[in-house]
């Protein structure tokens, strides 16, 4: 049974910049089911991280604001909540891990203090209980000898260990949703494999939903069930992971796959996507991808429709690629 836990409708997030208003996220719709891992894929500047920050009310103020749309969680619209209310949800029900485990931890506190902080705040435990709980969480994410490492400072740990601490913090309040923004990008592949394995296992054990934000199609294929592809602030394609990788319909998705060097792949030149990602200040008319697209036509100057390929496979394109 599908149970929708997060329902985003028409989310539009804008930033005030010196050179004008930038629409970083442009009317996206998104649902997240209980227990599901949703991958959000796109290149830098496509709005994938801003979507996450919008959900958690973490947009830099006053430059960034949600200009339109609703984010329904647990029957409430997060956009309309006051700061105190959203702070209660953040960490408790929805938590987030960031790309940079080096900069997300406070260097002057021990990791134990930082893990306990969230537990004490949200779960009303005293010092002793929260320390025991923190040791349990650190053990759960695979830190060896958690009783000893809990008093370490972040600089005494490696990158992989720090990312584990971040995950322990994010999980310490048993959230229903974990948003992971490029959780393994700063890590080496052997450590990345450990962390992805860990996220997958913990998701099963705790029964939470994961929103995985990444630019790495390999990582998406590893652990998500559903994928959304973003380009210049819009969702351009959405499908089950197997369907998307087998029958990509948007020319951007197709081109991304073709430009990817694969282990065991064919020789010869890669099929690069021509041109550059357009500036959000100066987006092309209509479909933002049409200037780089191999199927471009005159009607691509108009906004393309959001159309159905199969009931679970949607694409925003005038000329979707047929398989």
């Amino acid at each position: 049974m599908r149970e929708i836990i997060l329902d985003i409708k028409g989310l539009t997030t804008q930033f005030q910049t010196k050179r004008g208003v930038v629409t970083a996220v442009d009317g996206i719709d998104l649902t997240l089911d209980r227990g599901e891992t949703l991958g959000i894929v796109g290149e830098s500047g496509c709005g994938k991280s801003v979507t996450a920050l919008s959900i958690l009310g973490l947009l830099p103020k006053p430059a960034g604001k949600i200009a339109a749309g609703q984010i329904f969680f647990d029957g409430r619209d997060l956009v309309t909540l006051r700061e105190a209310e959203i702070r209660h949800i953040r960490g408790n029900d929805i938590s987030m891990i960031f790309q940079e485990p080096m900069t997300s931890l406070n260097p002057v506190y021990t990791v134990g203090f930082q893990v306990q902080e969230a537990i004490r705040k949200h779960r009303h435990m005293n010092k002793r209980e929260s320390r025991a709980e923190a040791i349990k969480m650190l053990g759960l994410v695979g830190i060896p000898e958690p009783e000893a490492r809990i008093d370490d400072y972040p600089h005494q740990m490696s990158g992989g260990m720090r990312q584990r601490v971040m995950i322990a913090m994010a999980l310490s309040c048993h959230p229903q949703i974990m948003i992971a923004d490029e959780p393994t990008t700063a890590l080496d592949v052997t450590i990345q494999a450990q962390i992805l394995d860990l996220i997958g296992r913990l998701k099963e054990e705790i029964g939470m939903s994961v929103m995985l934000i990444t630019h790495d199609l390999g990582v998406v294929a590893e652990i998500s069930q559903r994928v959304m592809v973003m380009y210049a602030g819009k969702v351009v394609e959405s499908a089950d992971v197997k369907e998307l990788f087998a029958n990509p319909a948007h020319p951007y998705t197709v081109s991304l796959f073709k430009s990817l060097p694969k282990i065991g792949g064919r020789d010869g030149a890669l099929k690069a996507i021509p041109g550059v990602v357009p500036s959000l200040l100066n987006l092309p008319k209509g479909c933002a991808f049409h200037e780089r697209c191999f199927k471009t036509q005159s009607r691509c100057q108009q906004a393309p429709p959001w159309r159905e390929i199969t009931p679970s496979h949607m694409v925003r394109c005038w000329e979707p690629v047929e398989q």
Partner: protein, 323 residues
């Protein structure tokens, strides 16, 4: 690939850095960044050097180009000992070996125009008249796929991929024979990465270049390299032709590294070797084989005796007691 001459070789190259007591730091000891590395790079090939962060691959590259002096061992360029080069020979070597770094944002002086930046190596080496140099800059911009009028612009006006093209143009200015590319596409978006990889391949074919290609991304290395060398904690653990290496990696670390790389295909079968633990510190490498604490195949001998690189087949070398 035809049989060709070695262009760069090293014998038992070692680079140590001493940790000095400074400020509040009470650490002392020696960082063993590169340990007893011998290798040969053939003229016209792409020599891929892979490994995780901190394994010494960048340091090895810098020592090979004599940007740092080795602690022990020798480097030979076209058969001549690099350490014995006098100032004029070294200056000639600097023309023939160039380097491309990972981050095109910090590699370009933000206050100089592109034309000046590309012309700088020509001016330093007093090549041609002013007009000839200017013509060469325009020609170089054309070669890397930019416009001649871009010479009048500043680095901030370009995207990451375009900046990497500028860096490549500058590296090509003096007609080098050898280019050390240290993670040249790691900072770029997927769609741009393919453009730069294709450019590097075209340039190699056109100008008969030799690349030492350093990367942590195994799929990129498989795409571009002819031979692959794997480093772990400052040592080479395996060297071999690309096809054989990717089809049948021999060293347990190579096997784990390859199996850890995420596969962009949700239906692919995964036989993942998940390594436990982290890369040990090069200040305090483990006894015996430095990989033994994480190795799934370790035996008693691995704890006490460090293996040396042995020849498996005429072209394949591996450093493991179990092979």
């Amino acid at each position: 690939m035809k049989v060709s001459q070695p262009i760069l070789a090293c014998e038992q190259l070692t680079k140590h850095y001493s940790l000095k007591t400074a400020g509040f730091s009470r650490r002392s000891g020696v960082v063993r960044a590169v340990e007893d590395v011998s290798l040969t790079v053939l003229s016209g090939e792409v020599f891929g050097l892979v490994g995780e962060s901190g394994c010494g691959k960048s340091t090895l590259g810098r020592v090979l180009l004599r940007l740092e002096d080795p602690t022990a061992g020798k480097v030979f360029f076209a058969g001549q000992n690099l350490a014995a080069f006098g100032p004029s020979q070294l200056k000639k070597f600097r023309r023939e070996a160039q380097i491309i770094y990972q981050d095109p944002y910090s590699a370009l002086n933000p206050r100089q125009k592109i034309g000046r930046l590309i012309e700088e190596p020509l001016s330093i080496h007093r090549v041609g008249t002013r007009q000839e140099r200017r013509d060469r800059v325009h020609w170089l911009l054309d070669v890397v796929g930019l416009q001649p009028d871009h010479a009048q612009r500043y680095p901030h006006e370009f995207s990451g991929g375009q900046r990497q093209r500028i860096v490549i143009a500058r590296a090509l200015a003096l007609n080098p024979k050898l280019i050390l590319a240290d993670e040249p596409v790691s900072a770029l978006d997927v769609s741009i990465q393919a453009q730069v990889l294709n450019l590097l391949e075209e340039l190699r074919a056109e100008f008969g270049l030799t690349y030492i290609f350093i990367s942590h991304d195994l799929s990129v290395v498989e795409h571009i390299a002819d031979r692959v060398a794997v480093m772990y904690l400052g040592r080479l653990v395996e060297v071999g032709p690309k096809k054989e290496f990717y089809n049948q990696p021999s060293h347990p670390y190579s096997q784990a590294l390859l199996s850890a790389a995420p596969i962009p295909d949700p239906t692919a079968e995964r036989n993942r070797v998940i390594l436990t633990g982290d890369v040990p510190s090069p200040v305090n490498p483990p006894s015996g084989c430095s990989f033994h604490p994480r190795c799934p195949e370790r035996r008693d001998i691995c704890f006490t005796k460090a293996p040396t690189l042995r020849q498996l087949t005429p072209e394949r070398w591996v450093s493991c007691h179990m092979r």
